[in-house]
């Protein structure tokens, strides 16, 4: 078994927190994991990506080859499309519907979302609305991991456990919000 995930978004959105949630669950399940991250200049509001590779065998390359990813999980729709060429033919793109407009030439959001929906396997998640309903806009990352949990090669209990591990030390309320965010993301995936 191998499962390759490209995680993406804009610097500061929390791409690495998504990776950490999934990575923790992978460890619980005894999978090998390699996670390649972007640090430095790009983190200042630029396009950011991380590669997370899961396998029950030895993982060689730290980077996922183009055309090999099983999942592109994105916090931002334009960023989602940027990594489409990483997907393998059966791979799925899961993106937040919410545009982060910090460049003057940002394209028409509806056109971008339509392009995502036209892919063979994709799903657009109303991440900000779901996070807000769960109680905190900051929980969009957890919503997106919840959505991805339908596809990830691990029990959703392991992912929930990971949410517990990550947020329980931040207090009862934060944990509660994130568990709700995870559940609503999971429900929203179609």
């Amino acid at each position: 078994m191998k499962y390759d995930i490209v995680l993406c978004g804009v610097g500061g959105q929390g791409v690495l927190s998504m990776a950490a949630l999934i990575g923790r669950a992978a460890v619980v399940e005894g999978l090998n994991a390699k996670q390649s991250e972007v640090h430095g200049m790009a983190q200042r509001g630029g396009a950011v990506q991380a590669h997370l590779r899961l396998s029950d065998e030895v993982i060689e390359s730290d980077l996922i080859p183009r055309g090999a990813a099983d999942l592109v999980l994105s916090l931002e729709p334009v960023e989602a499309l940027r990594y489409v060429s990483w997907l393998c033919p059966t791979g799925t793109l899961v993106s937040s519907a919410n545009a982060l407009v910090n460049i003057p030439n940002y394209p028409d959001t509806e056109g971008i979302l339509a392009r995502i929906r036209a892919l063979p396997h994709s799903c657009v998640i109303e991440a900000e609305r779901l996070a807000d309903e769960a109680g905190d806009l900051l929980a969009v990352n957890t919503v997106m991991v919840g959505a991805a949990s339908r596809l990830l090669p691990m029990k959703h209990e392991s992912l929930e456990h990971s949410v517990h591990q990550t947020f329980s030390r931040k207090g009862e309320r934060v944990l509660h919000v994130n568990l709700a965010a995870f559940a609503s993301g999971r429900k929203a995936f179609q």
């Binding site: 500061g12 430095g40 200049m41 509001g45 060689e60 980077l63 080859p65 394209p107």
Partner: protein, 536 residues
Amino acid sequence: MPQRILLGDEAVALGAVHAGISTAYAYPGTPSTEILEYLLDHHERQGGPHAAWCANEKTAYEEALGTCFAGRRSIVCMKHVGLNVAADPFVNSALVSMHGGLVVAVADDPGMHSSQNEQDSRWYADFARVPCLEPATQQEAYDMTREAYDVSERFGVPVMLRLVTRLSHSRTNVIVGEPRGENELHKAPKADTWVLLPGNARRQWSSLVARQKDILAWSEASRWNLLNLRPGRRLGVITTGIARNYYRENARAMKDEPSHLHIGTYPIPEAQVRALAAHCDEILVLEDGYPYVERMMRGLLPQKLRIMGRMSGELPPTGELSPEIVRAALGLPALPVLDLDGMLLPNRPPQLCQGCPHGHSYSSLKEALEGMNATMVTADIGCYTLGALPPYSSIESCVCMGASIGMAKGAAEAGFENVVAVIGDGTFLHSGTASLADAAAADTPMTVLILDNQATAMTGVQDPLIASSRLQAIVLGLGVKPEHFIIVDAHPRKVHETAEVLKREILHRGLSVVIAVRECKQATRKHARIPEAVAS
């Protein structure tokens, strides 16, 4: 055995701790920063070894060298271009007889993700005639760092550990071993081996050159070099460092596995290269960085063996390797990919955070320069380099740490009238003070604008070594005239006021220094422990 999930950088840090280092020094620089970040955190939690950020890579190197002079082990960490700054102590420390181990961890940045060039540090190790280890995995990063200390003490030389971005910033499981204790404090057995007066230096240099054959023998026998000769195959592949990962990722798809030599230690294990060459008609060299092994193999004279790599076009001449590039070089068809039928996506370059004080300073500078002739704005390295991009488009140069002030002086003396040098507080301390002394001595007509955001922000917001209040004493102490030294607040409401100050000082026909003070937004957040906000 205990396992940890570690970044490549963190594996180096923990390897050094477990090798019994007493001290660690560094100047932050992507992709090496996380080595010392880890060691600082380790120090805070476990009380040792000593770890500290330094003013620049040269001071960091010399401080590490002092620990080795005292017989103990030390690590010094930097990015590739940082080694240019530390080149003087690095090259010369190869001549002393090192009795406490010194590891120089240098993180190269092929592809220039966060750097102004992609120089390959293996040439530096070669130039200084010291051994170099190049890990391919996080596990090797840990194991090699430990081993590097033994190599350093065995041959009495500093040892380089060469990393690249993709290893530094990738995390996975690492199995860790039993920690070793620190060395006893002790002076060098022979004092004159550390005094590089010409007479001693000649002796030490001869000794270093004489030790090369032993160092080569160590490299030839190292377990990090793996030669796998396959029967009946004419193609051979040489990989170094992480290129092996890309090779193995693709090799499974090949019908016949080629003969393969992996190089993890330098000097290049020559006998193994020759053994591979004798076995093959053609050799593909895969290395992330410059074509170092490839160029050595080509030499100057014609040869029967066909060598393929960056110099002959099978691989791109510049940039970092990737699984796809290696795949193509191995003659495998590309994997099918989805495309967007020509749909173009806008780039999203990095930008200053919303409310960044540098943005306000650039607004002031723009206003001040409006309508002036013969203007020139040199700048330096930090978040403020983003001022080269719209909407600011305010700066015209970024070359190396500290270059802004010296370049402004040269441009002013060449005849440009209204010259401004923009430099951050961290970069000023790193390597701006000496050129400011030059400018003060000549009272060159130019204005130095120090952007004091009280942090080394670009590399993840490290605290400044020197508080803003002391910057003033340094500038005045270098001989800048008090009447042309002004401190302003980089507040959004003071943009116009600051523009007036800058205009007046730029028009002054002598040296002026203006410090624009306001804390970096991310530093404020860090100190208040609020999560990082989205840039916009």
